[in-house]
Subunit: 173 residues, 2 copies
DNA sequence: GTCAGATAGTAGGGCATCCGAGCTTTTCTG
DNA sequence: CAGAAAAGCTCGGATGCCCTACTATCTGAC
């Protein structure tokens, strides 16, 4: 899922949008609108970059997150529902993600020992190896955040955590 | 496209991931990883919230952006390709977005006066009215950014612009 | 103990996004 | 000016995300 090629237009369209906003609706709502559009665009760029880095492993960032969640779990196995809760994605999305991870041999579905409703996703050896290698690549690339110093990363987290709170995410201080 | 219901777990899973990261790979890559995961989650929450606000208009945020781009354009019409460049989405995505906007009567495809390869998307009266109403709702809601003061919006933009630059976005100072 | 309600996972449908391929039309080159 | 190259749009396929059912299973109330 590579990102769209850079068009490098001379004017910055997000700044232009903000100018229009102030012109039509005044100064008050413009900062929020600018922040949102900038956030969306930054996310799009980052996601594209990360997916480019992960493509050699036949992974996307969504599937990488599942792998890492299992990687950090004792036994390397978790019920599908638990995965959805942890990553905050819909149960049907988890089914789909696990389908593809299983297809590529990174996880396998295992029956729950006591609850026959539950299916466990268990990391395979290949999955664990790939997770480690992919993480090495991402860490070396600083997750595409190399243009910002570590202090800025902290700033960013503090600001974005406020947004996360409004979505019901538990953000303990 | 409503967001996932809040599960309100006691521990913050993103902070937990960061702790694991520091434990396994040291302090160095952790801030970048934390910033990226937090950004992804904040975007997901914001997008879900905005889509909830726009659902009564039969709009998604992606389609709303198209509408506003045309809204700010003289004549209210633009070639599909131009829309893709401005919003930084793939040409095939533009086709899909315009398909749905046209289905709902918000835009219509018009032949380009001189270039027969080109198709223009032109805002209809209904599209213009809906764009205005939707904007009123979003502005009143501060685009879901009410938890942050305007100064923080500016901070956020400055930080995220650095990320945008790495993606080839023109960010003039 | 039995049956209603909650839980776990999946199938099917819709939207957004990308890519590659293909068609038409325009522009450029020799 | 004719053919090659580029540009503009769309189609089909893939991934990810959501929602609404639906089935199977478990739990709890009576």
């Amino acid at each position: 899922m590579p990102s769209v090629e850079a068009t490098n237009e001379q004017i910055d369209l997000l700044r232009e949008a903000r100018r229009q906003w102030e012109e039509h609706w005044g100064e008050e709502p413009a900062p929020a609108m600018a922040a949102v559009t900038t956030l969306m665009r930054a996310q799009q760029i980052l996601m594209g970059h990360l997916n480019d880095l992960l493509a050699p492993f036949d992974l996307t960032f969504a599937r990488y997150e599942v792998l890492m969640l299992l990687y950090f779990t004792r036994e390397g196995a978790l019920p599908l529902g638990k995965i959805g809760q942890r990553l905050q994605v819909h149960p049907t999305s988890v089914t789909s993600l696990i389908d593809r991870l299983e297809r590529d041999g990174y996880v396998e579905r295992v029956a729950h020992p006591s609850d026959r409703r539950t299916t466990l996703a268990r990391l395979t050896v290949a999955g664990r190896n790939t997770a480690g290698q992919a993480t090495k690549i991402l860490n070396e690339d600083k997750f595409g955040m190399g243009s910002l110093p570590p202090e800025s990363h902290e700033e960013l987290v503090l600001l974005l955590d406020r947004i996360r709170e409004t979505g019901g995410d538990a953000v303990s201080p």
